[in-house]
């Protein structure tokens, strides 16, 4: 693979002294108060609080209580470029990422047109190099137009910087086509990231099938619509010796299928979104279109299975599936609305509030799962360690806010978490050595 996998606009290499911050990085074994000095975009020194000299560097005072974490990594976002810039673009989407503490993201190809050729991939990568605030990687399509009929020129796109391939938004329905893609993977490499949905089972469903869909009279999508495809593709990956990544798991049966595949040594990995970890189909009762997502919000037993899977490691990482839509597209009856919720700006705060503060998982584990996505796509994982490029996020765990109260950095406002009370706020994000985000109130007092 020749080209750089991640691209962002060039920004000045940062010189920053984080004074007396609580550094938490499970991979580096750090969990305590330190000074951290960034010089020319690289972590130059880590020392006892109050000991490092930040001559000429921007100084940020953590007062011993703000947490400095490795910047998060999101392997599943929709940045809508090209063709759907009324929803989001590379600039607004990566601004939202930085505001959420993400140091890098991977963009999906279900744009208009679908990113399914080296030429299109080249053009969005150029746009990322001009506009993106945090580095962006791309997964172009597995099949031309994501139509499931013909393989894309995967080898050429791999040379052109593709991290892997996905038909996200749709499944690869045809088992023979899926097998062919896995076979071809031996030539081109790259992870095949899979949106799992049996479209004949999902039918015209608009939400999870269960008591709530029955009460609302909405067509339901059964859990098995996802899990039978997870099981099918795990079997195909085993047969072909391929490497697949299961996107946005949403039901218990899928977690079980992934666990079974991993137990057999198949090269599979899986992600889960904050909304599937925290919300259920009960949230759909009000028919708020921001809760219409694909896969749909499922039952409480599914939600707890996902949390357990994340804790045990059956699910490798958190990914937001940030799916921005224009206001007029979502401000319609539930059945007419497009699927998707934004997620970048609320991911950490929502998970911290509802899983860490409640004692369900530890903060260290959450940080680990919010950074682990990079390794799944053969990229270096962000770490707080001397000599590493600065990919850092500074967080005030005590801050409280209401999601959406001051608007969004994203162009879109379709957040399933809007109006929910959040604990913890990202204050500052450094991505690939450059400052990507400053929370406005914080930077006033800190500089």
């Amino acid at each position: 693979m020749g080209a750089a996998p991640l691209l962002s606009r060039s920004s000045p290499r940062a010189d920053i002294l984080f004074r007396d911050v609580h550094v938490l990085d499970p991979r580096s074994g750090l969990d305590g108060r330190h000074d951290v000095l960034v010089r020319a975009g690289e972590i130059a020194e880590i020392g006892a609080p109050g000991t490092l000299d930040g001559q000429g560097a921007e100084s940020l005072d953590g007062q011993g209580r703000h947490h400095l974490l490795p910047a998060f990594f999101d392997c599943h976002v929709h940045l809508r470029t090209p063709g759907q810039e009324h929803k989001e673009d590379l600039e607004t989407g990566t601004r939202a990422a930085a505001a959420g503490g993400f140091g890098a993201v991977i963009a999906m190809p279900n744009t208009d047109p679908v990113i399914d050729s080296a030429a299109l991939l080249g053009s969005v990568r150029e746009a990322a190099a001009r506009e993106a605030r945090v580095p962006v990687g791309f997964l172009p399509a597995i099949t031309v137009g994501s139509a499931g009929i013909q393989l894309t020129e995967m080898a050429e796109m791999r040379d052109g910087g593709a991290l892997g391939f996905t038909d996200d938004g749709r499944p690869v329905s045809d088992a023979g086509m899926m097998r062919r893609a896995l076979s071809y993977q031996r030539l081109c490499g790259g992870v095949l990231a899979l949106h799992e949905e049996d479209v004949t089972l999902a039918g015209d469903g608009v939400m999870h099938e269960g008591a709530v869909s029955a009460a609302l009279g909405l067509a339901g999508i059964p859990s098995v619509s996802e899990s039978v495809m997870v099981a099918r593709d795990a079997a195909l990956a085993a047969y072909e010796g391929g490497r697949v990544h299961f996107q946005h798991l949403s039901v218990r049966e899928s977690v079980e299928a992934v666990a079974a595949a991993k137990a057999q040594g198949v090269a599979v990995s899986a992600e889960v979104t904050p909304h599937h970890l925290l919300l259920t189909d009960e949230q759909v009762r009000g028919l708020d279109s921001s809760t219409k997502v694909n896969p749909p919000l499922a039952a409480e037993e599914d939600r707890t299975a996902l949390v357990d899977g994340l804790r045990s490691g059956v699910i490798d990482c958190v990914a937001t599936d940030h799916a921005p839509h224009a206001r007029e597209e979502k401000e319609v009856p539930f059945e007419q609305a497009p699927m998707g919720t934004t997620g970048l700006e609320t991911a950490f705060a929502a998970l911290y509030t509802e899983l860490v503060l409640t004692g369900v998982i530890g903060l260290g584990l959450l940080v680990e799962r919010m950074t682990a996505g990079a390794a799944l796509f053969e990229l270096p994982v962000h770490r707080v360690a001397v000599g590493q490029p600065a990919n850092l996020t500074l967080v005030d765990l005590d801050a409280q806010w209401t999601a959406g109260e001051h608007g969004w950095e994203s162009r879109a406002a379709n957040s399933a978490f809007a109006g929910r009370r959040m604990h913890s706020r990202v204050l500052y994000t450094v991505a690939a050595g450059g400052v990507a985000y400053r929370e406005r109130n914080f930077s006033l007092v800190a500089v």
Binding site: E209, S213, A214, V332, P333, E335
Partner: protein
């Protein structure tokens, strides 16, 4: 005040509406079938689906109360030019209607409309979700016939999956003290429907225990999705006919009936069938609903009690 869902009405609220309906029923028997209760008020019928009887029933109800009625239907209007529901409601809202009656093929449509208008909103059917005025008129019809619903066994038979009538009626009959059982082909009974408060059966074996049999319309247009092998087999398993219905059981149907499918032709015309009574109840119950929502409207002074003398 709005009427969006049966879930919003407790037993007392249901009985208030049926009591009002009983008083309005007198009006319908008079030579001049009109009272001045809503004179000067405007009722807007916003219909996104073809509906002869519900719309006509609302129109008649509003006119008997002396309200002005404007009908706005999806065909031949700005809807076909791509106007969104929101813009349609904002546009029509400029005419300052006092009540908007909404029928739309999407669940939650009436609730959405209520966010965009100050007018009282009445749900006249939203997708496969709810049809609360149908449930109210069915409760009224039964009350007129048997006094109260407490302890009645009511079977709702047919295509429950696609029926907004079933969803509202399960809730309404339950609130009035009846015991509800839904019955139909397994492919047309949604998973989880029992959480609304009903039993589920897939055969008519226990039908003789029912006091009331409420048959649903088997919609021909659904047959494209082949939920059952054929209408013939459906009728063989689920048709309510003279053989299956005993003389003591009452029969209801929301209309329009497919004779020979969900009901045999003979049973429709039998004295057990309350179907015509349901249609008559439609007007008086909708008069009561209009009266109720408009007497609680935010922008209006309270209405006087209906003057029937």
């Amino acid at each position: 005040m709005n009427l969006l869902s049966m879930g919003d009405l407790d037993r007392e609220a249901i009985e208030r509406i049926t009591d009002h309906a009983a008083r309005f029923a007198e009006v319908s028997d008079r030579e001049i079938k009109k009272v001045p209760t809503l004179r000067g008020r405007m009722v807007l019928n916003l219909f996104y689906e073809a509906s002869t009887r519900t719309r006509g029933s609302f129109e008649l109800a509003a006119k008997r109360l002396s309200a002005d009625v404007v009908n706005f239907s999806a065909d031949g209007s700005s809807v076909s030019k791509g106007e969104s529901l929101k813009d349609t409601v904002l546009t029509l809202g400029a005419h300052k209607p006092d009540a908007i009656v909404v029928r739309a093929p999407w669940a939650g449509a009436a609730e959405l409309v209520s966010r965009w208008t100050d007018a009282a909103v009445i749900n006249a059917g939203d997708g496969k979700h709810e049809h609360p005025t149908q449930a109210l008129l069915d409760v009224y019809t039964l009350k007129q016939r048997v006094g109260k619903l407490d302890g009645l066994s009511i079977w709702i038979v047919g295509d429950v999956a696609h029926s907004r009538v079933a969803r509202s009626n399960i809730v309404a009959f339950g609130r009035m003290g009846a015991h509800v059982t839904v019955c139909g082909p397994p492919t047309l009974i949604p998973r989880g429907i029992e959480t609304l408060g009903c039993d589920v059966r897939y055969t008519l074996d226990e039908l003789p225990g029912a006091d009331v049999v409420y048959a649903l319309r088997m919609q021909h247009e659904r047959m494209a999705q082949a939920p059952v092998p054929s209408l013939r087999e459906y009728a063989a398993c689920y048709q309510i006919n003279e053989r299956r219905l005993s003389a003591r059981q009452m029969l209801m149907h929301p209309g329009p009936v497919n004779r020979g499918v969900e009901l045999s032709g003979g049973i429709v015309d039998s004295p057990q069938a309350l179907i015509t009574a349901q249609v008559q109840a439609g007007v008086v119950v909708r008069m009561a609903v209009l009266y109720t929502v408009l007497s609680g409207a935010r922008t209006q002074a309270p209405l006087p009690e209906p003057q029937l003398a």
